[in-house]
Point group: C2
Chain length 455, copies 2
Amino acid sequence: MANKIPHRLYLNENEIPKQWYNLRADMKEQPDPMLLPDGTVAQEEHIYPVFCKKLANQEFDSTTRFIDIPDEILSIYKVYRPAPLCRAYDLERTLGTPAKIYYKYEGNNTSGSHKLNSAVAQAYYAKDEGLKGITTETGAGQWGTALAEAAGYFGLDLVVYMVKVSYEQKPFRKAVMETFDAKVIASPSNTTNIGRAILEADPNNSGSLGTAISEAIEVAVTTEGYRYVLGSVLNQVLLHQSIIGLETELAMQKLGEYPDIVIGCAGGGSNLGGLVAPFMRDKITGKSNPRIIAVEPASCPSLTRGKYAYDFCDSGRTTPLAKMYTLGCGFKPSANHAGGLRYHGMSPIMSKLYHDGYMEAVAYEQTAVFEAAKLFAKRETILPAPESAHAIKGAIDEALKCKETGEAKTILFGLSGTGYFDLMAYTQHNEGTMTDYVPTDADLEASFKDLPQVG
Amino acid sequence: MANKIPHRLYLNENEIPKQWYNLRADMKEQPDPMLLPDGTVAQEEHIYPVFCKKLANQEFDSTTRFIDIPDEILSIYKVYRPAPLCRAYDLERTLGTPAKIYYKYEGNNTSGSHKLNSAVAQAYYAKDEGLKGITTETGAGQWGTALAEAAGYFGLDLVVYMVKVSYEQKPFRKAVMETFDAKVIASPSNTTNIGRAILEADPNNSGSLGTAISEAIEVAVTTEGYRYVLGSVLNQVLLHQSIIGLETELAMQKLGEYPDIVIGCAGGGSNLGGLVAPFMRDKITGKSNPRIIAVEPASCPSLTRGKYAYDFCDSGRTTPLAKMYTLGCGFKPSANHAGGLRYHGMSPIMSKLYHDGYMEAVAYEQTAVFEAAKLFAKRETILPAPESAHAIKGAIDEALKCKETGEAKTILFGLSGTGYFDLMAYTQHNEGTMTDYVPTDADLEASFKDLPQVG
């Protein structure tokens, strides 16, 4: 009973970081630059039609190590943060592992995930620039919900293009977004040129993040007073999400702990990049050498089976090109894939670090991931998001290795969100009807064929 | 920005109370005793066939002021508690009120509500007594989910009778309970004599908490190794929920604060009774004199329009009789009523205190309650349960009175849970299709006719 380390450690409000940390400032080599479709290097002003200026500035800033968090953003962070650092005593006991398992729990807000950290920042900058509205895409719905919350707070209009398969599987995600006054449209839709073209070719297209991005950007650049915002992949998003890692680092310092292994689920890289930022810095600078592991779904395996190449960020092939691990911008995860982590690419920062050997990656099939999720739920009173459950599965596997070797390693993982909106997937798992899907090599080869010939 | 009082105050783990507080020990007059249907006073042993012995003991213990929380329960409390005491700065600013608004947020666990506090206790005692399983009812699903979580933790079988209208409106509640291995049955059902009788008389009966209780008890008393557990109304439940008030009291002490007004939503009284316990003690003993306000739905107005009389605790008229504010055990709230707070009666302890003038009560219609919920969500990043939104509405109204009078009162309310499973109701409100319903005097008179003639 009398554990010196508490089950949940909350920092004090005045310990919430007042600056974001820009990992690029410490990287030995920078990610390759964004390119325009003609192969020339993109400049900051090229993305002004799409993004707010302040955010475009953050996107291109690879040298400022710490960036002040504006007071208006800090004051909202204080409403729902700090997020607790939790010790999974019950899970450790159940596994019989000598490992210490910690997790950073980011699901304690209506959006149910870490996405709110960047949503608040992006909505604030849009409001501060005098914009009328913003557009975005959402897959599983975490990002759309977070942005609806943030836009509602600042009184900005918001149009959300939601991947159709999620829109249909998660009717209540739409309801939450509408509660915060967002307009939610299933993608592909008839409201954009790109959506209409896709539907014409394939009326039953169930959508993809890449397509939803194309539609959201089209609306942003063609509507007066609107800009586009994105919940992952971008450098600016990883910057905002660094608050996860900074809080975790401080909380662990207070406990006299440091992780041997840091595990994050990996879709576009927003949670992963935010969580690992200070630990990756330590690894780059040689201060310490934690293992850093990205866990992705076997059905959308950008790191473990993708190509490190320039690719479009959207399916409509309208964005600049990013050098990243990609499955090809036309890749669509199988419709049986539950939850998020369905993006074809991966954050250029995380891609570069993975490419340079600073990070490992592992892929799991979803039935195994849901097993881990349910075990975790029963021990820790939190129903995890399927996304986050990938990190849980990774942590459990590492803890079980410790059980074999007898090593008392310190494992840290990111519990990026809750599964309240993923209950159709949980129902499938409860009823034994959930299936796995792994793309064949031929599937991927076909998808790689369309990679742009640049860079 | 530099508020001395933080937005969220979390106690340290070692400050979680180690004893529950039994308000009865400080009441000037005790609630009237439970009666058997023949009018004689019930004794502890009369309820042994239904309840675990330790819980029956707590039910009848009106003298022990503090009761130790077993270590096994404390160790689970530490997984999801302490719950934060929050200062609603943003809501205050939006309302333009000089009042200080605090809320105790109990929704930070998978069950999404305070119900887990008693679920863990009751499941523990059942396991400790060597039982194989437990049965219960659930209305909106908070209690069933909490108990599923607790039973799953201790490896107990659990059968949940869920009010049919909620079962149909909230398919995902069932999914969560099943994720924790509970068996969920829509009530009235064909699995019990009482259910079959009700369905024979009215095949379209949409269920009530009273009916679900009858079914759950029937199964408990006729199944070897099973007992029944209940999420509200009972003395034992208020005892367990006192942890809400005790933590709140300590947190307010740390801030140098004391509430002028304490507001709780009122269904069966579990959240209300738990939150107000220490403040009610202060009021009874004359240490201070806060206003204590119960907020109930106008569609199920047991305190504001019910009779203070002996009544059955279930619709099947199988339980002992409790003296309480009741609408009659046959009362069924209109099917358009969203969320919980649909019980025909009210905790005998709370009923007695209300009857003796220690507490006020107010009733609101649900569209106004959802307005308050949405305003709160936009300012505080939490989507409230409809139940809890009654308390929000009460707090907002008191804060607006302060705006008129210029008084800087300290208002405390209980945010008992989140609304992740109430999105059909939010959708109705978003789309403008939500309706109100207030029973007519004739409706209530008809319902009162069946009150038992005892006491």
